[in-house]
């Protein structure tokens, strides 16, 4: 066990050392030194975390213990400690792997930036906080990591602080996250109040008893667990950008692209999902919260996907797709398929980082122009980027045998077979979501890489494949995007014991994965089976519609148009819903998406986010006028206050 403790400590500390080395001496050290130091330490961290994973998953070891006593007051002890189990090991590998590749990629991407050393320091610091978050053995340390990644993300989004939009974006991210954080604090306070401890193990052990003893309304399942679970989930909603609190994520795309890949796709935003999985013993005892999580997740999965359709900024398309995928993960967590959720988290980390870095590569080639309408035909100039981006897209759209297929199909199936409240609604959402996903992903792919180049003539000649430091991570990420799913689906989801071992708790009546596992006969069989199910066809249909709408239809010569009109007509008449498809999903979808986007912008942004701000500012400006500066008014207010208290207390 000591070995595991030492290894984990090294994994966590290495990025911090890198961050300190590159950050504190950013004026003194050279660029080479900064990236060599941080990358070496990240590599070290990655290798060790792989070793930890081998020990934990392969040899079934685990570690739970206190490293350092932070504070003690009364019976309450505040510790820094590690809980290294299967779930943690999975997350550690994911985080260090993506972070390592992002470090390498940043050498090329940030090469010309003035804040080079600072940048490396920040991403290492971020990795440190993320590792603190996943290795925590208590709520407080979880919160520490939680706040830390928020801080790092704030610093990184605002990295180009001379850009006004970057400042706005970072500020918005920080504010929305504060809302979540305070929910989180209330949750933690609740845990402390009812359990008297902040360590996972004693809290989890006490949950069934507390749930029974503290029912809020007798005869219902509404216990304080629901209350605590709700507030903690509010924290998760902000960090994982779930539906009403998702507004910050698209804005955060103002940061440098490697950051979008690392923070806003692969790791930080999944912290909420990780938390829900980590706290599975808690959420298992509150069916109402499970339904809530499911509905929030499923709604996000569909509706944010729709928004992606009308985006023209390549990074924003990917950002909205992240929102949608996070919705899937949350939905899976809602139906207690935590393993599927974490599985999707891991596959998603790889292919979404791939997509982001691919988008970054395109942006680099386009000289920081991110508009899809200015791109096109990049396939020929940038074959490696194109190919890897294609793999990422296929994985995202859950086309077998790419990794996304296995995880997403498992989620959809899990939602399908769940019986908790809202499951049928969620099922509709996630199935339709797979169509939408395919549509917008392929739309981006086609617009960027296919067709004629729409950039200026001059720019066209400058477009060339990115340097090796940029494409190497793409290739390295493409490999897991292809094989990870097939290799891991069995051991991750259905085998006994699975990769996650007993680090998550699922009550028998909620265990959808176990029921699915009875019918599971291996990855290949799963692929075959999928051809008989909706989701895959929806995905293919989505890709196809995108192809028609963005490649074929506008550019085809009249003959082809005629031929395809014929095919098109046949398709309409044969299946009957192609018409509907085109009208409802392509056009209607676009219209809905536009509406949703505007609604999103107007209602949520303007009304809730800015509106709340404006309301407070207005209150503030009005209230300050009470402070007139006149002594007699002040005396009057004092007297008024005194009288109010006097009368109230006397005649209460």
């Amino acid at each position: 066990m000591e070995l595991l403790k030492t290894l984990s400590l090294l994994v966590v500390i290495a990025p911090l050392v890198g961050a300190a080395g590159a950050g504190l001496f950013c004026r003194q050290v050279s660029k080479q030194f900064a990236h060599r130091l941080t990358i070496a330490l990240m590599g070290f961290s990655l290798i060790l975390s792989l070793y930890v994973a081998c020990l934990v998953i392969g040899q079934d070891q685990s570690y739970e213990g206190v490293l350092y006593l932070w504070g003690q007051s009364g019976k309450l002890t505040l510790n820094v400690g590690f809980l290294i189990d299967n779930l943690t090991a999975c997350m550690m590998v994911t985080v260090t792997f993506v972070s390592f590749l992002v470090h390498i990629y940043s050498i090329g991407y940030m090469a010309e930036d003035g804040g080079y050393q600072r940048f490396f320091s920040y991403i290492s610091l971020f990795t440190f906080f993320m590792l603190m978050l996943v290795t925590a053995n208590n709520f407080l340390q979880l919160f520490f990591g939680w706040e830390g990644v928020g801080l790092a993300s704030y610093l990184l989004i605002g990295f180009w602080f001379n850009r006004e939009s970057a400042n706005q974006g970072s500020f918005k991210a920080f504010l929305v996250n504060r809302v979540g954080d305070f929910g989180f604090v209330v949750g933690i306070a609740g845990v402390l109040g009812y359990f008297g401890s902040l360590d996972y193990i004693p809290v989890f052990a006490a949950i069934p008893g507390v749930a029974e003893a503290n029912t809020l309304i007798p005869g219902t399942s509404w216990s304080v667990i629901s209350f605590i679970g709700f507030f903690l989930f509010v924290g998760a909603m902000a960090k994982s950008a779930q539906m009403p609190l998702h507004v910050w994520l698209p804005e955060s795309m103002e940061g440098p692209t490697p950051i979008s890949a690392l923070i806003h796709a692969a790791t930080m935003v999944t912290a909420g999902v990780f938390m829900v999985a980590r706290l599975s013993p808690l959420y298992q005892y509150t069916p109402s919260m499970q339904s809530f999580i499911l509905i929030i997740g499923a709604t996000g999965a569909l509706f944010t996907g729709l928004i992606a359709i009308v985006q023209n900024d390549i990074k924003r398309v990917v950002a909205y797709s992240t929102l949608s995928q996070l919705g899937y993960m949350m939905a899976a967590a809602g139906v207690s398929a935590y393993a599927a959720s974490i599985f999707h988290l891991m596959t998603h980390a790889a292919f979404k980082a791939l997509l982001f870095l691919g988008a970054g590569s395109v942006i680099l080639a386009m000289h920081h122009d991110q508009d899809l309408r200015h791109m096109g035909g990049l396939r020929k100039q940038m074959p490696i980027t194109y190919f890897t981006f294609l793999i990422g897209t296929l994985a995202l759209c859950a086309i077998p045998p790419f990794s996304g297929f296995f995880s997403k199909d498992a989620i959809i199936e899990a939602v399908h077979s769940s019986q908790i409240g809202g499951a049928s609604y969620a099922y509709v959402c996630v199935v339709l979501g797979s169509f939408v996903t395919a549509f917008y992903s392929f739309r981006a792919l086609f617009l960027a890489f296919h067709g004629e180049g729409r950039m200026s003539h001059e720019a066209k000649h400058h477009v060339k494949e990115s340097p090796w430091v940029v494409w190497l991570p793409l290739v390295l990420l493409a490999i897991p995007s292809v094989i990870q799913g097939y290799m891991m689906v069995g051991p991750m989801l259905f085998s006994e014991p699975s990769y996650l071992g007993n680090s998550i708790t699922v009550l028998t009546q909620n265990n959808v994965l176990m029921r699915m596992g009875e019918e599971f006969r291996g990855g290949f069989h799963m692929i075959l089976e999928s051809f008989g199910n909706f989701p895959l066809w929806f995905a293919i249909l989505g890709a196809f519609s995108a192809w028609i709408a963005y490649v074929k239809k506008p550019e085809l010569p009249p003959l082809c148009v005629k031929r395809f009109k014929w095919l098109y007509t046949i398709l309409i008449h044969k299946y009957g819903f192609d018409d509907f498809n085109d009208w409802f999903f392509v056009r209607g979808g676009q219209r809905t998406a536009k509406l949703m986007y505007q609604g999103d912008a107007r209602i949520i942004d303007d009304f809730f986010v800015n509106g709340a701000g404006r309301l407070i500012t207005w209150c503030s400006a009005t209230a300050r006028r009470l402070q007139t500066g006149y002594i007699y008014h002040y005396a009057f207010v004092m007297l008024l206050g005194l009288m109010a208290l006097l009368v109230w207390l006397m005649f209460r």
Binding site: F636, L639, M643, V647, M650
Partner: protein
Amino acid sequence: MIEKLIFYVFAALLIGSATMVIVSRQSVRAAFFLIVAFCASAVLWMLLSAEFLALLLIFVYVGAVMTLFMFVVMMLNLDQESLQEKFVRYLPFAVLLVALMVGVLVYAMKPGHLGELGLAISPHPSADYSNTKALGLLLYTHYVYAFELAAVILLIAIVAAIGLTHREKSRNKRQRIDAQLAATKADRLQILQLEAEK
């Protein structure tokens, strides 16, 4: 009976002169009514057989503090015109709130709410009782700490008042370089737009 009469006469005088203090427009008049109020309350304190304090109020308060007030009023030589204003506009509001407060206080001080004290008659100490001696005995023994603190307070008043009103000699013609350097255009030059005479 005579005690009751004295009480009512001087209580009325006290309240009347206090009212005059707050509604006077001139500082001198207000100060004069304040003196009357102090004297009237000194009589009431006598009734309560607090002779020492009653005398202290006259000697120290009327003799020293009010003199200080008068001195300041005279020294400032205020422009009386500018200080006169009708306050009737604000009266109802303030009166309402103050009346409410007094009402609440009076309600709380009904004899029924005072317990045994509410029914007690004002005590008349025996003829050889010396109020001054009783106070003196307490003051210099049990309250020696507080007494020293009171001395500190008076010291503070001296230091503060001198520090505040102390003026540096302005006859000094020494050059003040920092002030000259810190001067801006706005300090020295004022541009006025003058209407042309028609």
